[in-house]
């Protein structure tokens, strides 16, 4: 299927939106939302929005065959699996009291005993 020619005005509008969002993300970075996670959520939401604008218009997804949506979407799914499953491990280690000695120390803990995590590896 042939891409329709996207009007220059559309490209310029998207460029303008990306500039506004860049300014916005810098601006909100200096505002304290009270909780660090909230700042991260705002920053990442803006980044995702910017990425979507680039994907859909600059990368012509909007005008492309559905198979390309599927391929682009599959990368998101694999990323969610990779990050999600890894974090269920890392972020839940400290929940298990009996294994506290095995947990990688989180930042609240004093300096790290380097040997502990490495010694773990062969035991599964």
């Amino acid at each position: 299927m042939d891409h329709p020619v996207v009007p220059v005005k559309t490209y310029l509008t998207i460029f303008g939106a990306l500039m506004v969002l860049t300014a916005l993300t810098v601006w909100v970075a200096f505002i304290d939302f009270g909780h660090g996670l909230l700042n991260d959520t705002v920053a990442m939401s803006i980044a995702v929005l910017k990425a979507l604008l680039v994907l859909v218009i600059f990368m012509h997804l909007k005008y492309s065959a559905k198979i390309l949506w599927l391929i682009a979407g599959s990368s998101v799914i694999w990323m969610i699996i990779m990050i999600g499953l890894t974090l269920t491990d890392y972020r839940s280690r400290e929940w298990i009291e009996s294994q506290a000695h095995r947990a990688i120390p989180w930042a609240s803990n004093p300096p790290i005993e380097q040997a502990a995590p490495a010694a773990d590896d062969g035991h599964h």
Partner: protein, 221 residues
């Protein structure tokens, strides 16, 4: 188009449309492998930031937010010129295509130049600087989290460095396209290389869209 075979239709394709679809599908599949490649780096970033949030806060504060933001603007601008280069080819404006490709090359080089300035500030911090932020035996920072900040800077240099390598490769391809575009190789019937390079270029832009807030903007509040 079907009665005579144009020179720009490769022998293993039946027609131009098939060739174009194959090229687009191929680059998208490649970009997915790139997502997973950078994804690994982002995953490492997330895990270690979870481990050492104070160090990430400290390290991020040592980056130059003005240069980082300038580079974001430069790179997004280069994405615009890239998109316009593809569009020019689509409408058969051969000269416009070449000009926009050149603009993209210049903007991409500007990005790398600014990146080089940033790196040089880290490598040569000046005689009265109290810290040295290159990971390794000379790393020094007066902080109880110094060792962990070193990990932040390992991520900073790996992620921005891999991104810069992608930019260098992209600029190399763009220069090749520019030379061909000057000869009028790309037009309304055949512009696959421009389109495909554009997709790669926009992808590299998207990587930076995530790197910028994650590296420069955390912990500014």
């Amino acid at each position: 188009m079907s009665d005579s075979r144009p020179s720009y239709l490769a022998h293993h394709f039946d027609h131009l449309e098939q060739q174009k679809q194959s090229a687009t599908l191929g680059i998208w599949l490649f970009l997915i492998t790139e997502v997973m490649f950078f994804g690994g780096l982002f995953l490492g970033y997330i895990v270690y930031r979870g481990l050492y949030p104070e160090a990430w806060h400290l390290g991020s504060g040592k980056l130059d937010i003005a240069l980082g933001a300038t580079n974001t603007v430069v790179l997004i601008f280069s994405s615009l010129t890239m998109a316009l280069a593809v569009r020019s080819a689509q409408v058969g404006n051969r000269k416009g295509c070449a000009h926009y490709l050149l603009a993209t090359i210049i903007l991409g080089s500007m990005f790398l130049g600014i990146k080089a300035i940033e790196y040089s500030h880290k490598f040569f911090p000046g005689p009265d600087s109290h810290y040295f932020l290159i990971p390794g035996k000379n790393f020094s920072l007066a902080s109880p989290y110094a060792d962990q900040v070193q990990i932040f800077f390992s991520f900073y240099f790996t992620m921005t460095g891999m991104h810069a390598i992608h930019m260098i490769i992209g600029i190399g391809i763009l220069i090749w396209l520019y030379v061909k575009a000057l000869k009028g190789s790309y037009h309304e019937h055949y512009y696959n290389p421009v389109e495909v390079t554009g997709l790669y270029w926009h992808f590299v832009d998207i990587v930076w869209i995530f790197l910028f807030p994650l590296l420069y903007l955390i912990g500014r509040h």
